[in-house]
Structure formats: C-alpha cells, structure tokens
Symmetry: C2
Subunit: 460 residues, 2 copies
C-alpha cells in the first residue's frame, strides 16, 4: 500500500460522517438479499481455504517485487489455480513494470562508536558511489528544522528523525526527504522508518521522483531505535559519522501481468464489478498483508459464490493488479486495457489496508449510489461491521475512478498494520484465519449484491 490509498481509507473512520448507529427498518433491498448474504457469510466462515491459500502463495514464492522472477512465478501459480477452480476468463493482462533493484546495501555508525545499522534503501533511490558515502550526520525533526539548520547540512548525511503520527503525515519525509536534503547540500538522506512500532525493523517504501534541479542523493530507512539514538547523541554534543553503501539502480522496464479471473454474469455479462488488491509487494517479507491478502479475499469471494451457485446478473471480476508499490503501472494498464468498457463498470472495490478485523467499506460516488451501498453494507451486520463510510477507493482503482467508476475501499482495523508495513515481518502468521474469512464474506456479499442489483449504481 502506498500513500494514495491512505487518504481515503485510514482517515475515513475518524474524519468523515458515518451512518447513525440505529438503523432503520429493513429496506426491500435488504429483505431481498439478506438470505443470500447469510448463506455467503456462513459458507465463508466455515471455510479455511483463504488462509491456506494465502500461506501457500506467500510461503511458496516469497516477496513479489516488480521485475522479479518470484512475482511472475507467483502470478503463474495464481492463474493456474484459478483455472483449476473453474473461474471464467482467467488470464494475465500484460503490463510493463519498472525494475528497481536494491543490490547489496549497508549502513554503519562509525562515530561516536561502531554499530551496524539495520537499513533498507528506499525505492527509486540511486545508489552510492562504490565504497559508499561517509559523512557526519545532522539529525533533524522536521522540514522546518532542516530549514532552520540548513547551513549545517552541506556535505552531511541528513537524518529525518520524525516520530510516527499517521501515515499520511509521516510518509512525506520518505517521499521528498532526499530532495529536500539535497536542496541544502546534503550528500545522503536517512529516514526514521515510517511506523509506530518496531523491533529494530527498517521499513522500505518509495521515494517520490527526484527533482530535476537538485543532485540525486541516496535515501534509506533505518530503525526507529537507531534514529532516536542518533538524536540523543546529537543532543549530547557528540559527533556522529555514518557510512552508507547502496548498489541500488534502475534497470530497463520488465514484463509483468495483471491477474484476472471472472464469474461471468448471467444476464448482463458485459457489466462488471471489479475488485481485488495488488499482487506485487516490496522486496522484503512476503507481502502477506500488503497485499496478497487483498487479492486472496476477492479471489476466494468469487470461488465461494461459484461454489454456492450464486451467479449474479453482472460479471464479477477479480484482479490482482501488478506494480502498485513502485509504479502503479498495473492500475494504469487496467484503465487503458479496459477503457472501452469502463462506462459499464458498476463499481470497483480495492482491499489494500490489510486483512485484520473487518470494519466496513468506504464509498466514493454519487449520493443516490451511496444510499444503495449503505443498504448493502447493512447486510453485513452478522459480521459486526455494517458501516459504509463516506470516501473510499484505492491506488489501483484510482485511475478508473477518475474516469467515473464508483469506488469502494475495504476497511479493517488498522492498529497494527503499520507495524509490519514494508518490512521483513509482513508474513501470513500475523493474519488471523477467522478475520480473513470474515473479510472474504464481506467482499463476497458486497460484490455479489452490487453485481446483482436490478439497476447498476447511479453515477454522478
């Protein structure tokens, strides 16, 4: 998951209006679809396939970074299994993706004492010269602080030691920290990892593109423990020297695919509800919650509907978008490949905030459409979360939402998501099988009803 999504998803519960707690009497929609919803929920909760599938995918291939062999092998596996399961129109849709490679990298504290600093270079970063960059460190706590100390930054490695507040706020330093540091003459940028908790855990993630008018300096994340330690050392008046070495480089674009499978509609197969997550991950951990889980819950939702014989009027299409993390090429390619049918896309749902306890959906679209989606949301009362928040979407469905497709975000409890985000610790063991099954149920109900309504959601 990248920055884009957060604006919609994670701030939504706190900042935007939610439906009242006391719901009105069931509407005709609710009366019509509650029996199917109850069947779907019961079947999902009785089924452990989702967790096992997620484990097989993440154990079997490891990370799925854009341009890697492991991503393409994982995609092959998903496509083969979708075919075995009898999904319709299973295919990989070609996408060229950027290929950033990390190579060997290290950071060492040389003064005031020696320590190896666990680190992860940031995506899109340039590498260092061979032999690394060795320089005194200037620790700053904000962009304002950097500005105030600009005279001290020249020739230094600037460390942004910015404690986590929320992702949207804190990730700005990952995005433009290197450019801002370069503007005042720094030779490299270090970042306190973006997350509220760590166990000496660096978090990677993308930098924004370099500015064309300032030197390209490398950027890397270090553990929050080490960032705080260097801040204390600076406060004590100690000289801090770090050596940073990174082989990072951009290689030519590489072929990948969006993963696609369908449950073709029984009446209006040309009208589509598209949903899923991104099949790629960062090159650390196994991307279980970011975002294999998002792909698996949509995939399992379709398999479950098929198994229950619940074929809706319209087509439900599960997509595992590629290259969400460092390029968004999959989301853009989907828009381009399917441009001709976007006016027949009833809705798009993305899951890219983890698969923890289900909390509801977020919706972006017309007011009349929101009224309908809220009614669908109430069908999920058995899951303990029947709210549809105002505002929802996702990075991969952003390009088609911009062309008018109503968008939904799948929302879960986010308490621990950023503990693991873009780290070696994003693994399937952090995901609870019951919670995963509840998310399958929620996605299946939402997609099924959206695809089966007598009329498509009214657009703006």
């Amino acid at each position: 998951m990248r920055k884009l999504l957060i604006v919609f998803v994670l701030l939504a519960p706190a900042h935007l209006a939610a439906q009242p707690r006391r719901s009105p009497a069931p509407t005709p929609l609710q009366r019509e679809y509650q029996p199917a919803a109850d069947r779907i929920i019961a079947a999902a909760l009785a089924d452990s396939t989702a967790w096992n599938k997620l484990a097989e995918l993440t154990d079997g291939f490891g990370h799925r970074f854009s341009g890697s062999e492991s991503l393409e092998r994982a995609i092959d596996w998903v496509l083969a299994r979708m075919k075995t399961e009898g999904l319709d129109n299973v295919r990989g849709e070609p996408v060229m993706v950027p290929r950033w490679v990390r190579g060997h990298e290290s950071a060492e504290l040389l003064e005031p004492r020696y320590a190896r600093l666990p680190m992860l270079g940031l995506g899109q970063s340039v590498g260092t010269p061979r032999g690394g960059i060795q320089a005194e460190v200037l620790v700053v706590g904000s962009f304002d602080d950097l500005k105030a100390r600009a005279a001290e930054a020249r020739g230094r490695i600037v460390l942004f030691d910015v404690p986590f507040t929320n992702y949207g706020q804190t990730v700005r330093y990952r995005g433009i920290g290197a450019v801002e540091a370069a503007k005042v003459g720094a030779v490299a940028m270090l970042l306190r990892s973006v997350g509220p908790f760590g166990m000496k855990t660096p978090h990677t993630g993308s930098m924004q593109p370099y500015d064309s008018v300032v030197p390209r300096i490398p950027g890397a994340a270090i553990a929050m423990e080490d960032a705080a330690m260097m801040r204390r050392m600076q406060q004590r008046g100690q000289k801090i020297v770090v050596r940073l070495e990174m082989e990072a480089q951009m290689l030519p674009d590489s072929p990948s695919r969006n993963v696609v499978g369908e449950l073709v509609g029984r009446e209006k197969p040309e009208e589509v509800v598209v949903f899923g997550g991104h099949i790629d991950s960062w090159d650390v951990g196994t991307g279980a919650m970011d975002d294999a889980g998002g792909v698996v819950i949509a995939w399992e939702a379709v398999r479950l509907l098929q198994k229950l014989g619940l074929r809706p009027r319209r087509t439900i299409r599960v997509v595992g978008w590629t290259n969400e993390e460092n390029g968004l090429r999959g989301g853009n390619a989907y828009r381009d490949t399917h441009r001709a049918e976007l006016d027949r896309h009833v809705a798009a749902i993305e899951s890219d905030g983890g698969t923890f306890k289900f909390r509801g959906f977020g919706f972006t679209g017309s007011d009349p459409a929101y009224a309908v989606v809220r009614q669908i949301g109430r069908l999920l009362r058995p899951l303990g979360a029947d709210t549809v928040f105002v505002g929802g979407g996702g990075a991969d469905i952003g390009p088609i939402m911009q062309l008018g497709v109503p968008g939904l975000a799948h929302i879960v409890d986010g308490t621990r998501y950023f503990w693991y985000h873009h780290t070696e610790a994003d693994n399937v063991d952090k995901i609870d099988p019951r919670e995963l099954a509840e998310n399958v149920a929620a996605m299946a109900v939402m997609a099924y009803v959206l695809a089966d309504l007598p009329a498509p959601l009214p657009r703006k």
Copy 2:
C-alpha cells in the same frame, strides 16, 4: 536474564500466595518509615537521571557481552561516574569470564525456495565446519515428537518449532535441544526463537553444556515466522533444505569485573544489604532491559539516598554482576570474594526481569523475615504495588542465597519482556522514564529500610 531467575520471579504472581488485598492498620515499622519512604518516592519521581543514565550507558557502549571490549569500557564508565557522584568504596572486583565468540554466521533456506533466514547462534554452541552444514530439515513440535520421529532425524537438521507458552517451559528446547537432536543422529539444531512475539526477530541465549557422550552439533535460533513456515512446508510434503554456517567458538577466559559502589552504614557498616543487576548482556541489542536497567535502578537508588541525606544504619552495596548471561561467574565470584561477610549480609535484591511497571517484590527467607519484608512492601503503596510475593531471588544472588542470605526479586509487569529478550530490539526506547523512576523509588525504599531496621532480618 537466564532460566534460573524465572522460576522465582515470573511464576510467582500466578502461582504463589500473595498478601490479602485489605491491609491491616499500619504497624510501628510502617509508621516509622513511611515519611522517609514518601520522601524517597517523591524525589525519585521528580528525577529523570535514571533514564538518561541508562541511555548514556547503552547508547555509549552498545552490547556488553562477556569478554568484549565494550563490556569493560562500560564498566570503566560506570565506576568513574560512581566515583564522581561520591559513592563509597567504588571498585571493580576481578572475575575471569568465559569468552564465546559468534563470528560470522548465516542460515539459508535452499529448498523448496531460496530465502535468507535471520538467525542467531546460541551461546556455547560449536560452529559448523567451514562451508557450513547443508541438510534436509525435520520439523518437530516437542521432545516427544522428536522421539516419535527419531528414525527420520539421522543426518538431518532438526528444527524445534515450539510455540511460546512460558519462558521456563519453552526455554528447555534452547537448553538441551542440540543434545537431544544429536542423540538421534541430527547434524545441527534449529530453534524457533523463545518469545511470544517477534517481527522476524531471532532471540539468542545460552545452550546448556554439551553432553559428553553425544556429538557436539551446532545450535541456532531462527525467527518464529520462519519456523512456522517450515512446519507448514513439511505438512505440505515439501522437502526442506537449509544451509547453516557458524564460526562460533570458545576462546580462553578473559578478565572482567563486578562493579561495586556503596553507601556505607552510619552504625553498622560491616552489615550489608546488597542489590543490583547484571552489567553484562548478550552480544545483540544494547541490553537495556536485560539488564542495564537493573543495575541503573539500584545505582540510582543509592545516589538518591545519598542526595537526600538518608544514610541507613547498615551499608547498602550496589553491584553490577558480570557474566550472568553465559556463565554466572560474577555471582559465583561475589560469593567467593565476600564469603567471610556473608553472615552479615542482611538481604540481597536482584532486578533482572526488566524495568517495566513496578509490581512488587518476591521474597525467599524465614517466615519472621517475610513478615517484616511485607511491612516494608506496604510503604510502596504510593507506587500502586505494595505486594511482597512468596518466593524471590535471582541468578546472580543465587550463590549467596544458597549460603543463607535472604533474597528478594524486584518484580515488574512482564507482558512484553520476552518480546525483546536477547534480541537486537532490547534498547532504551522500550523503557518508560516514569516507570523506570518508580522502580528506582521501590528499590531505594526497600534497600533503605532493610539497611536501617533496628535488627537485621531474622534468618532461618
């Protein structure tokens, strides 16, 4: 902290009798000492020296592993600072310590797919031959499971994937896992790290001595995520191959010191209350909670009493024992060096379970002594924890307790202690300054009153 202590400390609250919630009216002891206790508590809570001192110590020298230069430099720093502060009889008491060195080490999953496995060799382990040990893995869930599958173990690397229940139970696999695996022909032992939570975090710690009649095979801990993954791979019928490479070796014993400083008693200087923690740590992280915190709270307690002009009848001696982690040479040397005065040791208090929220003390000694210590405990009501549990001690004070010295354990909330225990993540940022100050207060009150009582604690 090692296994020994746990038996006393961590099981105590759950398993042993505590005093009733409704306390009786204040005793003469309480009436006499409550004013001093209140002064001590107020002064400790108004003082941030403890946390800053802990940060300076751990930031400044890093780990403090037996035989390392960083341990001896840290000891020099503590002694110098104690002298500056005006503590009495500051000295390092010589101790020869074992010197196990880790060297380069790595573990890699080769089949069914490649992955680097974060690992830490276990203390006392032998290394592998140069080039490492490459073998198929047999995953077992217990010693019984290993026995049942003994025929499959020959020539294999045995992985004990034992989920954490409590430290005492689970650490047995670290202690004797390599010996048990060797008995059935295994070539190396891997261990699911001993802890309830991790973020791809290996935990080191000592193995027990090798058995003289079975081959010495290397032992290493891997992250719980990877242990669980290999179990799943085995359940799927996949062949698992790992290569383990370790340069670990034992070098000749090396000189170290127990750190000692005193507040000499005003009436009976030859009678002693000794307290502290261990100054050594494992060779990962900075040993902030295990156990620099234990040393610092006793040290700060003495400094605080001195500052308040509270000089008790007897001597209070703070000790930072060396080599608790992989030899207990410091605790044994203290017993031997001070053997002649042990009958004049009123009590010994050890803090080696972290410096989280203060929960009370545990006590091992005579019933009349327990009655007195319970009354002292009640002076700590302002800290919200006035209980003295039955049963208490610590690894370093074990040798003198065996010779009759009444022993106390300092007890804190243990919820997260084993998240960080023996890992790179044991750092000062995990320790709350307020909680640390409360622990200083508790240690100072307990030591002061024990040292000032009209009569020493009655022995058995």
